[in-house]
């Protein structure tokens, strides 16, 4: 943007903030420097109108609430003004520790997509008189990255617009097209998910943002759906990773000083002559058997028999599957 245009736009904002009456385009042109033109010359007038349209779009883009209306019922032409109460950030008084928290929060996005929005938001708070200590810390620094789908999905959820996107689950190669009414986005254990109503499955579904391929497209109008009242988005995501029942008790012998990873699973360790005897409480026998097999001769499953048999089976299969030369299909 040229300096002249910036200057013109600042003057336009000041002019529209200072007026209570709606000002028509012609009145604005006669007042604000930079809009001078000859209204009787069609080409000149058209150029002015284009310029004025671009300027209005720029202001709206910046979030300036331009009101449109007429000064009286006799006016044909629409007029414009900016209501101070719509324009201005409400008064905000932050205690020093609160301001420090906001300053740290704004830094979280330092390397992610929302960085620019966070720092311009913080600049507005500073302009409102908030003093932010850039050195403040809170003991733990969260480093937050978001997937590219975050922006379009949060916007769509806010506007209650349906979205379509291509989604690839790791177990299937071809991404499939999904249609979703997004209720909201969830960060769970450091990963991002979107929860909503899947229009094709006619059910509540959650999708991991990192598995979305390409763009998220908003479709249809805003206000197209209403999320269920009091929906607990996190519970939809957390449900699939609940605690597993652990009913098995395994006895595993590991070499002295080896198999540290298995030792960390153990509820109890008893030193023995041929190694340390671990007691491991487990849920899935195959899961534990595979891990014990991974430790090779450093670990031996002593019981229960189903575990011992599963480990032997895994070891035999490991040998067969790793014959050289590797055969690729």
């Amino acid at each position: 943007m040229s300096r002249t245009r910036t200057e013109r736009l600042v003057n336009l904002v000041i002019c529209l903030l200072s007026t209570r009456r709606f000002l028509t385009a012609a009145q604005i042109a006669a007042t604000v420097p930079g809009y001078e033109h000859d209204p009787s010359d069609p080409r000149d007038h058209e150029a002015f109108q284009r310029k004025f349209e671009r300027d209005k779009a720029e202001l709206r883009d910046l979030g300036v609430p331009l009101e449109t209306g007429t000064a009286s019922i006799f006016d044909q032409e629409p007029g414009y003004r900016i209501a101070q109460r719509e324009y201005a950030l409400p008064d905000i008084l932050l205690e020093p520790d609160e301001a420090a928290a906001v300053g740290i929060a704004a830094r979280l996005w330092q390397h992610a997509g929302l960085a620019a929005a966070a720092s311009s938001g913080l600049a507005k708070l500073r302009a409102a008189g908030v003093e932010v200590d850039p050195q403040a810390t809170l003991g733990v620094e969260p480093v937050v990255t978001v997937d590219p789908a975050f922006g379009p999905l949060t916007s769509a959820a806010r506007e209650r617009r349906a979205v379509t996107f291509k989604y690839r689950v790791p177990e299937v190669d071809e991404p499939s097209t999904r249609r979703l009414e997004p209720w909201g986005v969830v960060c769970w254990r450091g990963r991002w998910y979107v929860v909503g109503h899947d229009r094709d499955r006619a059910a509540t579904r959650c999708f991991r943002l990192s598995r979305i391929v390409g763009d998220v497209r908003a479709t249809g109008r805003g206000g197209a759906f209403e999320p269920p009242a009091g929906a607990d988005l996190i519970s939809h995501v957390a449900r699939s990773s609940g605690p597993i029942a652990r009913n098995g008790r395994a006895t595993v012998t590991v070499r002295h000083g080896r198999a540290a990873g298995l030792r960390r699973l153990a509820a109890d360790v008893t030193p023995g002559p041929d190694g340390d005897r671990l007691t491991i409480v487990y849920g899935d026998v195959e899961w534990l058997a595979a891990r014990i097999a991974g430790y090779g001769p450093d670990a031996r499953a002593d019981g229960p028999p189903e575990l011992r048999d599963a480990v032997i089976q895994h070891l035999k299969e490991l040998i067969v599957r790793h014959e050289v030369p590797a055969v690729t299909a």
Binding site: C15, P33, E95, A105, A118, A123, V186, G275, P297
Partner: protein, 329 residues
């Protein structure tokens, strides 16, 4: 992230903000304001020059924005009605509100109370926009985290008992704590490791014990923090390449670990990844059960077969673990 704002649009936003910012800080040093607003002194002086010729319709001496620049200090004497910053736009509200929710959820963080208060005030200032459709939950072992954090806050060096997954060993070392981080859902302690003589990231859940030493934490001047924005583990080209064939049940590996390549191979996938340590690769990959088969390099296959065979011998012998095996070094 409705749109990536152009630098020119940035300037207009900055200018609208500048008058209330300066109004709240009469006589502020230009250099201090520039640093606060993230611009150079030169840019700020250019902004001031531009504002100087803007003002209310009439554009006479009493209408224009007026300011006193006394050497390096600036004071606004007439604001032309621009006494308040523009309210937060949807992206700014989202960026600040979600970041504060993230901070409030970050395990081990201090002054949660201040964060909650700040969040309430920002939400109130953002009005309707505060209703960001984003929820955050970051579960962790609070007790352990608080204990480690307390030790870090004490400013002492620590003796750490730490499990290194890459070598599958639990070792003791003395470290000089630097900072605590949370990346991708995991909590880390970053410290100077006196044994490795380098900065290291220690995952909190792998710290099996620690004691505070009497000496202060004194990381050397050259101890550089990690850049963790692209993830904690970023394999370099010097690391060995391993090729695997994975089935559906093992496909999660490609989502969890950085991989070089994934190629579909009939009903399975051929995956190439770099690993820090072949011993780790062997333990980890053979511990995954039937869904993962290693197909290269050949020496890794030899090791897998040899170790599985030795491990099987233990089950043939009535007692004791077999003779000292061929183990990963």
């Amino acid at each position: 992230m409705s749109a990536v704002r152009t630098p020119s649009g940035d300037r207009l936003g900055r200018l609208l903000n500048l008058v209330p910012y300066l109004l709240a800080r009469p006589g502020i040093l230009i250099s201090e304001a520039a640093a606060d607003l993230g611009v150079t002194d030169k840019q700020l002086r250019e902004d001031l020059e531009l504002l100087w010729v803007c003002g209310l319709p009439g554009y006479g001496p009493g209408d224009l924005i007026d300011m006193a620049i006394d050497g390096d200090h600036v004071t606004i004497s007439h604001d032309a009605g621009m006494d308040k910053p523009l309210r937060l736009n949807p992206d700014e509200a989202l960026a600040l509100v979600v970041a504060l929710r993230m901070l409030a959820e970050t395990p081990g963080i201090g002054t949660r109370d201040a964060i909650e208060r700040a969040l309430a005030k920002i939400e109130s200032a953002a009005g309707d926009l505060a209703d960001a459709p984003v929820a955050v939950r970051l579960p962790a072992n609070q007790k352990k985290l608080a204990a480690v954090r307390g030790a870090v806050d004490s400013g002492h060096a620590l003796r750490l008992t730490y499990y290194t997954a890459a070598r599958d060993e639990t070792t003791d070392r003395v470290i000089d704590p630097m900072r605590m981080l949370m990346v991708g859902g995991f909590n880390y302690l970053e410290a100077w490791c006196r044994r490795a003589e380098a900065t290291r990231l220690f995952r909190i859940d792998r710290i099996d014990g620690f004691t505070e030493l009497d000496e202060p934490s004194a990381p050397p001047v050259g101890a550089v923090p990690h850049d963790v924005t692209a993830g904690v583990f970023r394999p370099g080209p010097e690391l060995p390449l391993v090729t695997l064939r994975v089935g559906r049940g093992g496909r999660w590996i490609t989502e969890y670990y950085p991989v070089e390549e994934v190629v579909k191979d009939t009903t399975e996938w051929l995956v190439t990844m770099r690993v820090t340590d072949l011993g780790w690769a062997q333990r980890f990959l053979t511990g995954q059960g039937r869904d993962v088969t290693v197909i290269g390099p050949p020496e890794l296959l030899d090791r897998i077969r040899a170790q599985a065979a030795t491990a099987l011998d233990q089950y043939a012998a009535p007692t004791g673990l077999g003779a000292d095996p061929l183990t990963a070094g």
